[in-house]
């Protein structure tokens, strides 16, 4: 215990004595952590975005007015047999009208004009699927000769393109995120390696004397590893403060522009902040200790 505290203390003084090299190490480490976290967060935002659109998606099949009830039920059953299909809901002419009236209740003139004519709205089936990327499996059914005659229109194409684009965006950010984080990690490793190397060189005399008065290798090497770990801890603190500040100012804007997504984001941050801090802490300490360990292994010769 006494020994551990001494190693800890000595690690701290290493850190202080390194001056601007410590600052460089921390800067690059903070950049690494922020990059990593930002991509994690953006990834979550895109995923929730996709989810919320997926939930909203309805494939609506509109029927001709003369479509027979039996044919519609037959189609409904065919669709229900597909495992991709989540729910199917029949919307009758009357129900469609009711909805339309509800949606336009602020527009009495429009409603007035409807009263005079016969219900112009077609009956329809509203279909939800589990995975919108697999909407294509439904197409052959709609193209079936049996149903072609009764189907007036199938609407789903626009939604599908949006989702495809979002998918691509997620894929892209994932790749960019991984590459950027890796690049920063390697840079951080190199810079901290060199910082610790400098620390070892400037303290060569001290290290030699430590050896000669009977210090064990762990007592000599420990402080440098602690120094590396300290870079990780301090960088995490700074990075969390920066990310916190950015989100504090950004969250209202996000909520404003993206509605649900913004809510999800700040909710995500709030419910995952602990996890995010620990992930950063882990990565930070890992990078710090690994690079100092490499430097120590190379430059502290124990004999």
């Amino acid at each position: 215990m006494t020994k551990f505290i001494r190693i800890l203390k000595s690690g701290f003084s290493n850190f202080v004595r390194n001056g601007w090299l410590s600052v460089a190490s921390i800067t690059i480490m903070v950049l690494t952590l922020i990059t990593m976290s930002m991509f994690l967060v953006v990834n979550v935002v895109l995923n929730t975005g996709i989810k919320s659109i997926q939930d909203k998606i309805d494939i609506s099949v509109y029927f001709n007015d003369d479509a027979k009830q039996g044919d519609i039920i037959a189609l409904q059953e065919d669709l229900a047999d597909l495992e991709e299909v989540k729910t199917i809901k029949f919307v009758s002419k009357d129900e469609a009208l009711k909805r339309y009236e509800e949606q336009n209740k602020d527009n009495p003139k429009l409603l007035e004009s409807l009263k005079d004519t016969e219900n112009p709205l077609p009956p329809s089936l509203e279909i939800k699927v589990y995975d919108p990327s697999k909407l294509d499996v439904l197409t052959p059914i709609f193209d079936n000769e049996k149903y072609k005659l009764i189907i007036h229109k199938v609407s789903y194409k626009e939604n599908k393109t949006i989702i495809d684009k979002l998918f691509q965006a997620t894929q892209f950010t994932k790749q960019v995120g991984v590459i950027a984080t890796l690049a920063f990690t390697v840079t951080a490793l190199v810079i901290i390696f060199n910082t610790v190397k400098m620390a070892i060189f400037t303290r060569k005399e001290e290290i030699d004397i430590m050896k000669l008065v009977g210090a064990t290798p762990s007592f000599i090497k420990g402080p440098f590893l602690i120094e590396g770990a300290i870079y990780g801890v301090i960088s995490t603190l700074i990075s969390i403060m920066i990310i916190g500040t950015i989100l504090y100012f950004l969250a209202p804007t996000l909520v404003h522009y993206f509605g649900g997504v913004g809510d999800d984001l700040s909710g995500f941050i709030r419910s995952n902040i602990v996890w995010l801090v620990f992930a950063q802490l882990f990565v930070g300490i890992f990078i710090g200790t690994v690079s100092s360990w490499l430097a120590v292994r190379k430059y502290v010769k124990i004999s």
């Binding site: 006494t2 004397i209 430590m210 000669l212 008065v213 009977g214 210090a215 064990t216 007592f219 004999s303």
Partner: protein, 230 residues
């Protein structure tokens, strides 16, 4: 206590020229002995000493200290070995940024001694070498003799069975030199084996202790109650 069995150490100089710093040295030092090693500059005195605390490894021959053959010594045992042998280095090797007290306590810290025990032991040892008043001075604020005392204090703080002092009287005026010798004699009387090197003929001749003369890496003379003449 210390036994050298045909020990040879060869250094390679820059131009591939080889120097036998120790050339087939055989020597035996018994517990509680006081031994003086003399010889010209470059005779191999420091090399002999560095072999004892395992700062250097001989090229051939066996070194035994306290019954242990250094060939059987594992790397991880070396720190523990060094804590049992007090060494006063020719160039002191004090840490310039630490005070006398810190320099001495440092040797205890590295071996995991409790802070409370350190606070007790260090003042006692500084008292012994007569450096209590300079406890808070940095090495550069000390005279040569005081630095030497600080180095001795650090070497003794582990209460080693063997104390090795490389030129402990070098560059010191006679009064200071004798002060240092008196400390070494006192330590020796308390039961520690003492091994010192020196160039100082007067001290050697007055001490009337065992004298080993080295010449070009070889032991040229080994005499009880020895004298040293050019």
């Amino acid at each position: 206590m210390i036994y050298f069995d045909h020990v040879t150490k060869i250094y390679e100089q820059n131009e591939g020229e080889k120097i036998e710093a120790l050339n087939d040295v055989t020597l035996h030092i018994k517990p509680k002995e006081f031994v003086i090693i003399v010889g010209h500059s470059g005779a191999g005195k420091s090399t002999l000493i560095k072999t004892i605390n395992r700062e250097i490894k001989p090229d051939s021959g066996d070194v035994y200290v306290g019954g242990i053959n250094y060939k059987d010594l594992k790397k991880r045992d070396i720190p523990y070995l060094r804590r049992k042998i007090g060494v006063v280095f020719q160039d002191y090797k004090l840490l310039p940024k630490k005070t006398v007290f810190e320099n001495v306590s440092y040797a205890l810290e590295v071996s995991g001694i409790k802070a409370k025990d350190i606070k007790e032991r260090v003042p006692k040892i500084l008292e012994l070498v007569g450096l209590s008043k300079k406890s808070n001075s940095k090495p550069k604020e000390l005279s040569g003799g005081e630095r030497q005392r600080a180095a001795i204090a650090r070497a003794l703080v582990h209460q080693p069975r063997i104390l090795i002092a490389d030129e402990p009287t070098g560059n010191l005026d006679p009064k200071n030199a004798w002060g240092i010798i008196e400390i070494l004699l006192k330590i020796n009387q308390l039961g520690t084996t003492v091994l010192m090197t020196t160039h100082n003929q007067e001290i050697v001749n007055k001490l009337k202790k065992r004298v080993i003369v080295m010449k070009k890496g070889k032991i040229s003379r080994d005499q009880e109650m020895g004298r040293y003449e050019e």
